[in-house]
Each structure stands twice: as structure tokens, then as C-alpha cells.
């Protein structure tokens, strides 16, 4: 999130699109309710009427997978009706920037497309620079190649009529939402967007969010209280795990994982983002300091200038390699690797195309399953359709502690790092994950010390000194993440003050690229300082009255509660919205008052620093040249879709998505055997694959079995009655479910055709309860967004039919 949960209460309009906030983030609904109590309008846009819709002031349906069309229409509406915040658009976005004349867009394709590679050469999407290397701008926004004019041209195609044909949303419903949300373009009005997997799990997932970023930037809703683009995380600590570099493509704190051709640290540092514009802070220019400090944190005294701080000991990606989830299991299926740790997850139910995932696991020599309970992953070898005699995979089950059985921090969607105490001991032999991994590594290292392992340096040189009283010491790790001064620094370049060796750095501003500092994760630097553990703070002071609570826990970066907050003030540093003053420049004291400023430079004036400090140009990107699928969002149909032709162009699906074509991967578009659009989703009562919640009697009592929600019209068509047992089937698999026939789902009119939508939850699995049902992911396809590879679980094609009782077969004698 750019903002945080409590901040919802500051909004005038709350749009929940791509999510189901009441059901999946119920506690946050408190703040939506607080906004509504003050007169805010709450809008829900979704294929399905949910518990969220029941509380919405405006509820509007759209066909799953058509959000870009819906939002494209909104962008056009905002531009046509001049609802945008002109000051903001001119000063704080790249609207005025001039684009390369070779940039073009024609019939669904941006310039630079190579059909053989299914990829773009993005060089023609570049922004034009002047002789000093500074982006060319036209502040009148009239230049035909300026972003504003290109944006207008691109989205002029998204007429109400076309949007309705694609989404199935009636024109009057579209207008209702556009009008209500567009009203937040006034400087003293603000709108926030809350999304979740409903936007991510599409082959156009990133562009769904990009489209809303454009809306928010046009309306001046970024960097202000009550605004922002707010991702509601589906796991309480998924923000923290992403920050900690759990994914293949990043080291901790979003430093990119080095690629093999960058053989030295100097090569790696050459890829640091640059800007020649003196008005752009370009905070990423500091990356070499963070990289060196990270390496010092990993290899300690073994990391020296002479050995590139151990840079060569860390794994590199092959150039252009994608090692994300879908590829990982595809490689596992092909037998590329033989061992697997399934740690705190249940891929046999959570992975898209779970049937393939389960088959992939049969190719392993060994698997370690670390979890609270046995699950469909650890016991895959005795699951449905498996023959244990033929599976050689050896599975080790390690029971671990639950969150309340260990101490540590959790980072919520609003980037708050909150410290939790341990409430009780774990049962039996279960141990905290940290203890398990700490001891495991000690054993691995002992083996390397004894024998001759291949490439032993990273193992032998790793700094692994986090033990406290024979256990994994969580405070030692938290301090390591914050970072230390490793030498006495008599006069620090940041503030000319002296710092002592062995003390904690006050913040990442003090990190150095010469090996004199360490830091496990630069964005968390300042979280655990000489003043103590900031995440454990619990003071309820609220000096701004906006609910920032700066002394409650700690938010990254540097306790900033709303990022890009300098976009909330005018050129002189005065709040543009007098009712929600997030930041104000105190000219006499020469300092900002309010939130922690982003960052502490004087007001922008006419030649000062731009507010979007993490972007190379310092402004919000209406035109975003950094993605694989285009600088503007464009509507493409899901990989599996119900219509033959994309209403917008001759490119039916995203031209750059990776198609897995071998083995078990099968897809069906416009196939009469699979005529209905299907989405998977969650309910309040279960969590993820249900590994925790299916074992809780009160929760399984409330949502006991797999269900399939469908409209009255579809039920009539398929002769299904409410409560009937049905089979839901795709080209990849089938599951049984109990039919919930409901007026909450409705057929869509898509370009003159009736399209039915069904939906199923993904919380069940064969292990428990025995009559609960199976994983919805047995149905979902192996296909992902080209930028993130998040699978398209929200829009695929399925059939549903009633299970008819077959008469018992009579044995015939011949």
C-alpha cells in the first residue's frame, strides 16, 4: 500500500475493485465504515455480489477479466469531462513528457513487437531527452507526442458502448461509477482504491493496477491522506515476506537479483538507475550502498573490498531467466531438480494447475514439508489418483510453531512492522521456523566442513551468529536487518557526526558502499536502533489527527506512513487539501511538519525536487515504459475466454504471455465443452488452502464444504437446484461442489451473447474433512502475467453439471 488501513477513513470515495474487502479483510472494514459514517461513498465493482456488495452504496458488475476496459472507460470519462486535477497532472506526473516519435500503437500492438519471441523491444517507448539528458516537456500538454495527448488518443477508443460490450456492465452503471469516482479530481476531494487478487490473478494483472494508477494520478489522489493505491494482502505477513526477498527476482528490500553476465559488483552497480535531471531525487541512486551493506550483513568479516564483499558467492540468474512459481513447478515436472522444501505452504492445493503440481512432486527424490498440520503436499503420495508403490519421493514432515507460539515481527499491508510477543509454547516437538532453519544450516555447514562440497565458499563464509541461549535469536536478526556501523566513523558523510563501531545505524541514510556498514534490508533500516525496537512501540499519539499514529509500531521506509506525501502540497509546501493536511512546510523552521516527508528537501517551487523520489524522472508515470506488455494498459481477453474476438483489436490475448504447451498443460477457449467463465476466491471463514482453518471445528462448521455459486438463469439452463451436488470441470481437471444458486450472480450480455459466470472457493483439500471437497486449483491453468507470473485464477473456462445418480451396474453373465 502507498497508504495504510486506518487511512481509509480519510477518503470521500472508496472504490473496492479487484477485491472483496468485507469478506477477505474484515477487520479493515472498520475504517471503511468510519469513512461512511462521515458520508463517504463506498463503491464495489465485481463479477459477483458478495458480502462487500451488500454494504456498498454503489455495486456494479463486470465480467471477470475485463477491468482494463472498465478503467479505460473511466480514464476517457475523466479526460473528456475535464475531471482531472490539472495542477497535479502538470507538475507531479509525466503528462507533459515527450515520447520517442517511433512509439506507436496499432490494432492491439505497441511498437517494437517481435512475434517469434512473443516479446517487445521497448526502446521506442523511451521518453525524449534534451542535449543535457533531461526529459523534454511541454507544460501546455499540447505537443502531439506528449504523454497527455498519447494517453488521450489511446483511451479515446474506450467508448461507453465498447466498454459495455466487453464488460457486460450496462452504460448507466459505468457512468454512475465514473461520475462518483471522477468527482475526487477536485483538490479537496479524495478517493482511494482497494484491490487484492481480483486484479493480480490475470494475464493482465499488472496492467489492471497500472490502469488504476493512471486514474489516481489524473485525479491527484496519490501521496495524499485518504488516497493511494492500496493492495490488500491476503496473508498477514506477505508484505514482510516480499520485503525480505523471498521471491527469486529480488534480494531483500527490492535490490534486483544479479544476473550471470554481471560478474562483478561493479557490473551490478552499473545497472543502478540514473537521472541527469537535477530536480529528480532518484533515490535508487543509493543502491550501491544498500548492496554493499547487504553483502556485509550476509558474509560479515569474510566480505571485503578485495573480494567484492562476497558478491560472487551469491547465486545469479541466467540472463532473462524467470524462476517464479509456474516455471519452478514446470521444471520440477520435467525432473530438472530433485529436492524441495515446502515451507509454510501447500502447493498441492495452492498452486495453479494443482494436478500438474502434484504430478511434479512425484519426480522428486525428497521433499521436506514444514507446517502446522499434515497437508495435501506432505501426503501427496497417498492422495487421490496416486499409487504410493510407484512414487519414490521420500517426504520428511517437520512440525513448526504457529505465529502466536513464537516472537517476531509481521509487516502488514500498510508497511507497518509490528512486533508480536510469544503467547504460548508450541505443542510437542513443534519448533519455530527460525530454529529449524538455523539448526538445519549448522548441519549443512558441518557437512561442508567435513567433506568436499562443490563451491563451499557461500556456505562456509556465511555469517551465522544469531544464537541466543541455544536458540535462534530473533532480536539479533531484527538488529541485523536494521544494520550496524562496523567501524568507528569519526565524521559521517551524512551528518558530520561521529558513530561508534558495533552500534546500530539510525537509518539507511547512514549506509555506506565501502564496507563500513551492514544492513540486512535497507527499507527496514531505522526499525531497531540504539533507541530500541521501534516495531514494539504502542503509543496512540496522533499529532496530525489523520490517524498516522507515528509512535505505534513502525512503518517502512523511515516510519513514513503515506509515501510520496510531498505530492499532497503545492509548490510552496502548503497542503492542497486544507481538510486533510498531511504535510506542511514550516518556512521559519525550515522543516516539514506532519508525516515523515518523502523526502526532506524544501518545497518544490519552480526548480526544486519532484515528489516521486523512487521514479527516475521524479514524477508519477501515466506513461510507463518499464513493463513487458506495454507503456499503457490495453484490454486483452483472458487466455481462456468466452468470445472469439477481442472487441478492441485483433490481439485476442496478451501478445507477450508465456504459453506452457507441453505435458499436462491444456487450454480451452470458446470451446463448447467449457462454456462458463469461472473464478476462484476466498471466504472469510477460511485461510488460503485451509491448512489451518479446516482443522478448526467452528470455522469448518460455518463453511463446511466446497461450493459453486451460480445464477438462477444458469441453474435453470443446467437443471440444477440449490443444494445439488455438481461437477465443475475444465480441460485440466474436475471437482465436485454443492451448488449455491443465487440472485447474487447474473449472466452478462457480452457483445450480444449471454455469458455465464460461476465461482468456487479454493480452501478445500482431500485430507480433511473427508467430505469437504478438493482443491479448486485442480481446475486453474498454468498461465501468468508476463511481468509477475501470477497465475490467472480469476478467469478461466469451465463447465458445471449436476451429478445424476447412476443406477448400480448389473453384473451380466454371458
Amino acid at each position: 500500500m502507498t497508504n495504510h488501513y486506518i487511512d481509509f477513513r480519510n477518503a470521500d470515495v472508496i472504490l473496492n475493485m479487484g477485491g472483496n474487502v468485507a469478506e477477505n479483510h474484515p477487520v479493515s472494514f472498520k475504517w471503511i465504515q468510519a469513512a461512511r459514517d462521515k458520508g463517504a461513498v463506498f463503491i464495489h465493482v465485481d463479477p459477483r455480489f458478495t458480502r462487500t456488495s451488500a454494504k456498498a452504496d454503489i455495486f456494479v458488475r463486470l465480467r471477470s477479466g475485463t477491468d482494463i476496459a472498465f478503467l479505460g472507460g473511466m480514464i476517457k470519462y475523466i479526460l473528456d469531462n475535464k475531471l482531472y486535477d490539472e495542477f497535479y497532472v502538470k507538475n507531479y506526473t509525466n503528462a507533459s513528457f515527450v515520447v520517442n516519435p517511433k512509439y506507436s500503437f496499432d490494432d492491439g500492438l505497441f511498437s517494437g513487437y517481435d512475434p517469434t519471441k512473443r516479446a517487445y523491444d521497448a526502446s521506442t517507448w523511451a521518453l525524449e531527452k534534451d542535449e543535457n539528458g533531461i526529459s523534454k516537456r511541454d507544460m501546455t500538454l499540447q505537443h502531439e507526442l506528449c504523454v497527455f495527448q498519447l494517453l488521450r488518443k489511446h483511451f479515446s477508443r474506450y467508448t461507453l458502448q465498447k466498454v459495455t460490450e466487453i464488460t457486460g456492465t450496462p452504460e448507466e452503471d459505468l457512468t454512475k461509477v465514473y461520475k462518483a469516482y471522477g468527482a475526487t479530481g477536485a483538490p479537496d476531494k479524495v478517493g482511494t482504491e482497494l484491490y487484492a487478487m481480483g486484479w493480480c490473478q490475470h494475464t493482465v494483472g499488472v496492467q489492471n493496477i497500472r490502469a488504476m494508477c493512471i486514474v489516481q494520478s489524473l485525479l491527484g489522489n496519490m501521496g495524499i491522506a485518504g488516497g493511494g493505491i492500496n493492495a490488500l494482502r491476503g496473508e498477514s505477513n506477505v508484505q514482510g515476506s516480499t520485503d525480505a526477498g523471498l521471491l527469486y527476482n529480488v534480494w531483500p528490500a527490492y535490490l534486483p537479483t544479479p544476473q550471470a553476465h554481471l560478474t562483478t559488483l561493479a557490473d551490478y552497480n552499473k545497472t543502478t538507475p540514473t537521472s541527469k535531471d537535477p530536480r529528480s531525487v532518484n533515490w535508487w541512486k543509493n543502491r550501491p550502498k544498500y548492496a554493499a551493506s547487504y553483502l556485509k550483513s550476509v558474509f560479515g568479516n569474510k566480505a571485503a573490498k578485495e573480494n567484492d564483499f562476497g558478491y560472487s558467492w551469491l547465486p545469479k540468474l541466467d540472463q532473462g531467466q524467470d524462476a517464479s512459481w509456474l516455471y519452478l513447478f514446470d521444471e520440477m515436472y520435467k525432473g530438472t531438480f530433485t529436492g524441495f522444501f515446502a515451507w509454510g505452504m501447500n502447493p498441492a492445493c495452492s498452486g495453479a494447475h494443482a494436478g500438474k503440481v502434484r504430478q511434479a512432486m512425484t519426480k522428486l527424490d525428497w521433499m521436506v514439508n514444514v507446517n502446522l498440520f499434515d497437508n495435501e503436499t506432505g501426503s501427496f503420495w497417498k492422495g487421490p489418483g496416486m499409487n504410493p508403490k510407484k512414487i519414490r519421493t521420500e517426504v520428511f514432515q517437520l512440525p513448526c510453531a504457529a505465529s502466536m507460539e513464537k516472537e517476531g515481527s509481521i509487516s502488514n499491508s500498510g508497511r507497518w512492522m509490528q512486533w508480536r510477543y510469544k503467547a504460548t509454547n508450541p505443542p510437542g516437538v513443534a519448533r519455530p521456523d527460525g530454529d529449524i532453519i538455523y539448526e538445519l544450516f549448522n548441519k549443512v555447514r558441518a557437512l561442508y566442513e567435513k567433506g568436499k562440497g562443490v563451491f563451499p565458499e557461500p556456505i562456509l563464509n556465511l555469517k551465522w551468529d544469531y544464537e541466543t541461549n541455544g536458540h535462534f535469536g530473533i532480536h539479533k536478526v531484527a538488529k541485523e536487518i536494521n544494520g550496524y556501523f562496523l567501524e568507528d566513523i569519526p565524521e559521517h558523510p551524512a551528518d558530520k557526526k561521529a558513530y561508534k563501531k558495533g552500534t546500530l545505524v539510525p537509518s539507511f541514510v547512514y549506509l555506506l558502499d565501502d564496507g563500513r556498514t551492514s544492513c540486512g534490508s535497507w527499507i527496514y533500516s531505522a526499525s531497531y536502533t540504539e533507541a530500541g525496537n521501534m516495531a514494539a512501540r504502542r503509543k496512540k499519539t496522533d499529532p496530525t489527527g489523520l490517524g498516522l499514529y507515528p509512535e505505534w509500531a513502525w512503518a517502512w521506509p523511515v516510519n513514513r506512513r503515506i509515501i510520496y506525501n510531498r505530492a499532497s502540497v503545492d509548490l510552496d509546501g502548503n497542503p492542497r487539501d486544507p481538510n486533510r493536511p498531511l504535510l506542511k512546510w514550516d518556512a521559519a523552521g525550515k522543516q516539514w511538519v506532519g508525516d515523515v516527508p518523502d523526502n526532506a528537501v524544501p518545497p518544490m517551487g519552480t526548480d526544486g525536487a519532484y515528489p516521486f523520489i523512487m521514479k527516475p524522472d521524479g514524477v508519477a508515470s501515466l506513461f510507463g515504459p518499464g513493463l513487458k506488455d506495454g507503456p499503457f494498459p490495453e484490454h486483452y481477453e483472458p487466455l481462456e475466454c468466452p468470445i472469439e474476438k477481442n472487441v478492441m483489436s485483433n490481439q485476442r490475448i496478451s501478445p507477450v504471455i508465456k504459453i506452457f504447451e507441453e505435458g499436462l498443460d491444456k487450454f480451452a477457449t470458446c470451446d463448447p465443452r467449457y462454456p462458463f467463465v469461472c473464478s476462484t476466491y476466498r471466504v472469510t471463514e477460511h485461510w488460503q488452502t485451509g491448512v489451518l482453518t479446516r482443522w478448526l471445528p467452528w470455522l469448518i462448521e460455518a463453511e463446511p464444504q466446497m461450493f459453486c455459486e451460480m445464477s438462477l438463469e444458469l441453474a435453470r439452463l443446467k437443471e440444477i437446484s440449490n443444494g445439488d451436488k455438481v461437477i465443475v470441470e475444465t480441460s485440466r481437471g474436475k471437482v465436485w461442489a454443492v451448488a449455491i444458486v443465487t440472485s447474487r450472480l447474473k449472466p452478462f450480455n457480452i457483445a450480444g451473447n449471454i455469458v455465464h459466470q460461476i465461482g468456487i472457493p479454493w480452501h478445500y483439500g482431500w485430507i480433511h474433512p473427508k467430505d469437504g471437497g478438493e482443491s479448486a486449483n485442480l481446475l486453474t491453468p498454468t498461465i501468468g502475467d508476463p511481468n509477475t507470473m501470477i497465475p490467472e485464477s480469476k478467469a478461466f473456462m469451465a463447465n458445471v453439471k449436476k451429478i445424476t445418480q447412476q443406477p448400480a451396474k448389473r453384473t451380466t453373465r454371458s
Partner: protein, 244 residues
């Protein structure tokens, strides 16, 4: 301890069922075996083991879908007909705490099936439940064991949206009336259900029947016709006992 009441603002309820689960947890009630029946409401009804149940009611009016949520529980009536009926049958299963007004069933007191039937029928809100094995009755206790320690009832404590409220009766009535005045401006059919007769006051925005058959009592005094008849005949039955 002052006279207590709940105020349940259904306009804020999004059916997360935190109250239903918290109630089970605090009262150590088991999860019962349920099946998906084509409806998200589960368990299907209140029971000896379920004192608090979020009821889901789906309807379509003028092409508009509505989904009403009703967090059902004992109303802790000012004049509890269940207590009067139990007493008329010579049962000590129902008592009332004079300080708080909590109406309490003692599940250990055996109640015959027929007597339970009479007690249940006397309740305009269809709350009392009985278990054949145990032979006793159970329902919401107002978390009497929590409130006497100054804690909130478990359902109120768990509610994230402000739907569930609990406190001194005069404060709850004030809160209910204030919220009713606000809500009335948007929903012309808004009402407070039987506020003068019960200690669990619901704010509804539509005909109570659309939420649940027993959401509100039909007459304002909270006593059914059957109950009134029972009262009428009470002295006579007592007399018969004496004669017998």
C-alpha cells in the same frame, strides 16, 4: 452493576461471523457437523451448542439484490416470557440477574421435552434450545461470566465494525436512537426492534421479516397470544396441582 443492554446495528454488519465464532470459543461450545446446503448460513439454526448465529437472507426487489445479515441471539427481555413459562411449569431452569437483567438458562437443570416446547413457544424470538442427551436448555448468557469481571461479551469484543455494542441500558438506548435518526434519513423503513421490551436492540432498515421470521416480536409487549393464555390459566393449573 447497572441494567445492561446490547445494541446491534445491522447496517454495519458484513457477516464476518466473528461474533458467532467468538461465542462458541468463550462458551466452549463444539462445532457441530454441518453440510453446505446451498446457503452460507451455517449452522442452519441456533442450537444447544450455538447461542449466536449470523443469519443470511437474500432477496431481490425491483431487480436489485439485497443480502441482509442478522446476528441472532437472545433478547434478554425486560419481562422474559420464557422465565414466566418455566416458573408456571414449576421449573427453575430460567433465572434473571437483577443487576444486569441477563436472562440465564441453567443447562444442568433438567427440563422435560414438553415443558421445553412450551418455553420455546413462549419466546417471541424463538431462542430457547434443548438437548435431549443433556436434558437441559441453553442460549446466550450475555457472557455473564465476562461482564461481571468488567469485560465485554465475547461477540461484542470480536466485532470489527461496530455492529455489536454493549453497555449500560440508558447508553445503549441513546446510541440506538441516535443511530436510528441518522439511518432513517437514508432508509425510510428503518426501525428499532422492540426497544422497550428487550435488552438486545436491533437496528433494521427493512421489514424485520425480510431478515428473519423471528427478528422482531409481533406485538410490542413481547408476549405471544399463547403466552397470554398460559398466564390466564396459570392460577387454575396451580389450583389443580393443589387439589391433585
Amino acid at each position: 452493576m447497572a441494567d445492561k443492554s446490547f445494541f446491534i446495528d445491522t447496517t454495519k454488519c458484513m457477516a464476518c461471523r466473528g461474533c458467532q465464532i467468538a461465542c462458541k470459543q468463550w462458551n466452549k461450545n463444539p462445532g457441530t457437523k454441518t453440510l453446505q446446503r446451498g446457503n452460507h448460513q451455517n449452522p442452519s439454526d441456533l442450537s444447544f451448542f450455538t447461542y449466536k448465529l449470523v443469519r443470511f437472507s437474500e432477496l431481490e426487489e425491483g431487480g436489485k439484490t439485497k443480502w441482509y445479515f442478522f446476528a441472532d441471539q437472545c433478547r434478554h427481555c425486560i419481562e422474559p416470557p420464557c422465565k414466566a413459562t418455566a416458573e408456571s411449569l414449576g421449573s427453575k431452569a430460567v433465572s434473571r440477574d437483577e443487576a444486569t437483567g441477563a436472562v440465564i438458562f441453567n443447562p444442568k437443570v433438567k427440563v422435560k421435552a414438553a415443558d421445553f416446547q412450551a418455553i420455546r413457544e413462549s419466546c417471541p424470538y424463538d431462542i430457547p434450545r434443548w438437548n435431549e442427551k443433556v436434558g437441559g436448555m441453553a442460549k446466550c448468557t450475555m457472557c455473564f461470566d465476562r461482564i461481571k469481571e468488567g469485560m465485554l461479551p465475547a461477540c461484542v469484543k470480536s466485532c470489527p465494525t461496530g455492529t455489536m455494542n454493549f453497555g449500560d441500558r440508558k447508553d445503549m438506548l441513546q446510541k440506538a436512537n441516535k443511530r436510528f435518526e441518522e439511518v432513517k434519513k437514508v432508509y425510510k423503513d428503518a426501525l428499532l426492534a422492540n426497544p422497550d421490551d428487550v435488552r438486545t436492540i436491533y437496528l433494521l432498515v427493512d421489514d424485520p421479516k425480510k431478515y428473519h421470521k423471528f427478528a422482531a416480536a409481533e406485538n410490542s409487549i413481547g408476549i405471544t397470544r399463547k403466552m397470554a393464555l398460559k398466564r390466564l390459566f396459570q392460577p387454575l393449573s396451580d389450583l389443580r396441582q393443589i387439589i391433585g
